[in-house]
Symmetry: C2
Subunit: 347 residues, 2 copies
């Protein structure tokens, strides 16, 4: 199949530092190539993904001060995508719903994967294109799209080989992520303290970090380890008794949960988001209704069998599953589109 995979114009594919959408696009594109498909990645010009890259910008707008309007950059890039539409059997957009207004102008069908939980206008605009092929990355996310018709739910996948199994944990629980209130770093610290377990925190030091987290650090029981590159991240996750993930933000399908699980590390978090779809209660982790229930569950989650945690994530969230899922959707979309065009020419 000739597939266009459309990433954001924020940063390169794969990203030099953080960027979960760009990481996922890299993984997807590489695996599609490996399976023999002809893949073009639309992403900033400095992307290196082992296949053709097309771009209106030499680098992502995250690294370019002359780009004042990031949305405009995304739309200009989508112009480029659709000018090339004839070269593809399917276009796979990861850029919000921004591809929608282009879709009826070309024959090539578009599959849209949403990586966010939607705002009201987002859902409203999706309704204007009921024929579109929307992929949700969790049932939690799907529910937020209300009556919008959905082509399928394909959870994110990770390269489980890049997160080696760590059979024996260290003496700490891990928190990793952006330091923002809704990511729950204070709740994580509070839970670890109450449970009498050491906590180590990783992520880029934001203003909020300096304001609210730094005063809590003591260098051992509550320790900050900085922003980690991939080898250090896997060591950090693999060495943890559990990942504390008390995120209150609306995240559609968080990759870090799967990454921890791939290392054998069980996950403890809230049941309000997509966690119940990723974590099997009492087997690969525990989800609780309230932050106050985190501390009492912490010793219990740390006792879960790490080999089982690993096995479950490999079975359910390895990238192969995700690629299988997308190829099925692409094929179905293509079949539908060809049938529609045949009907058109009979008219």
């Amino acid at each position: 199949m000739r597939i266009a995979v459309v990433s954001t114009m924020r940063t390169s594919v794969p990203p030099q530092r953080s960027g979960s959408v760009e990481l996922l696009v890299a993984l997807l594109a590489e695996n599609l190539v490996r399976r023999g498909h002809e893949v073009t990645v639309f992403a900033p010009g400095d992307s290196k993904v082992g296949t053709r890259v097309l771009s209106v910008l030499p680098a992502g707008y995250h690294h370019d001060e002359t780009i004042w309007d990031w949305r405009l950059a995304e739309f200009m890039q989508l112009g480029l995508v659709y000018e090339h539409a004839d070269e593809f059997d399917v276009i796979h957009s990861h850029v919000y719903c921004f591809a929608l207004p282009f879709t009826r102008l070309v024959r090539t069908p578009t599959v849209h994967t949403f990586h966010i939980c939607p705002t009201p206008d987002f859902v409203r605009f999706c309704r204007l294109y009921p024929e579109a092929h929307y992929v949700m990355i969790s049932e939690f996310q799907r529910r937020m799209f209300d009556d919008v018709p959905v082509a399928g739910v394909i959870p994110n996948g990770i390269d489980t080989t890049a997160f080696p199994f760590s059979p024996v944990a260290g003496d700490y629980v891990a928190f990793i992520g952006d330091f923002r209130p809704e990511k729950g770093p204070l709740e994580a610290i509070d839970a670890a303290r109450k449970a009498g377990i050491r906590i180590r925190l990783a992520g880029p030091a934001t203003d909020y970090f300096h304001e609210a987290i730094e005063p809590e650090l003591d260098g051992y029981d509550v320790e900050y380890v900085g922003e980690l590159d991939h080898p250090n991240k896997t060591a950090f996750l693999g060495g943890a008794m559990a990942l504390l993930f008390p995120v209150r933000a609306l995240e559609a399908c968080p990759l870090v949960v799967m990454e921890a699980m791939a290392c054998g590390t069980p996950v403890l978090g809230l049941s309000t988001g997509p966690l119940p779809e990723i974590v099997e209660q009492g087997v690969s982790g525990i989800h609780v209704a309230e932050p106050s229930a985190l501390a009492p569950a912490l010793r219990e989650v740390a006792r879960l069998d790490r080999a089982t945690v690993r096995r479950l994530v490999v079975e359910r969230f390895d990238v192969r599953r995700m690629v299988d899922g997308y190829l099925r959707i692409f094929q179905r979309t293509l079949d539908k589109t060809c049938a529609a065009h045949r009907n058109e020419s009979w008219e």
Copy 2:
């Protein structure tokens, strides 16, 4: 000609209150209809412009709290525009450069009128579409687009019949506009005080108004008259000895300058913007290099012949001139496009 005129999705055409782009689009569309053209206006659904209106939203996003991302609303609307492209001979976009990424996907040519002074990314993206038909509204604006090829310069026009000539002025100079520092209300007050002339100010009361302007008011020598509707605006402008327009913001072709002149009111402002293109030095107004030169020129500008001021603006900036200009550009664009398609079919 079958013409699509594409307004913003901010507010209706014409706007219920302020909105200079929406006002201009209304004027243009009405005049194109009057000349026998088939006009569709793309604008919020509550627009009333005497011809077909198409919209993805029932009202402008300025009046709709469920629209979180105004740019997305503009792009969704542009999707609708280009889905209808086959119905038009020409598409005339007033929405920044947002139509650009759609233009190569359809056969109908697009003319873009820019109403702003551009940011660096804006110019950069325009360069990606050198074949596009860009209309500038002043030479001042054109210079900011550097080497971008331009189809023509068409200054904004006003309906001079809606701004009746006022042969005798009152005892004040006028300031009208949003109260923001770069609009120069403090400079205007300062100049009037130094010249010993009363100043009256009109416009919506912003936070800046309450902070910086309100303390300067004394109810007579420096008087605030509120936000004015059209009849009160013409009376206010027509009764002024001069319009004080010390705007430091980059405005491409300000309508209020022409509106004052249509009432016979000469204009005093800075020479750094497009004013020298609109105001004939020493005839219909005066432009000076620095705010400090405003006060000494104020009595002089008030002595200019009001009938001449009126005559010049009717000759140069009546809407008929603007409509003539656009029809010439539309025809030229259409001829070019047809020639290109003929060459294509010969290949």
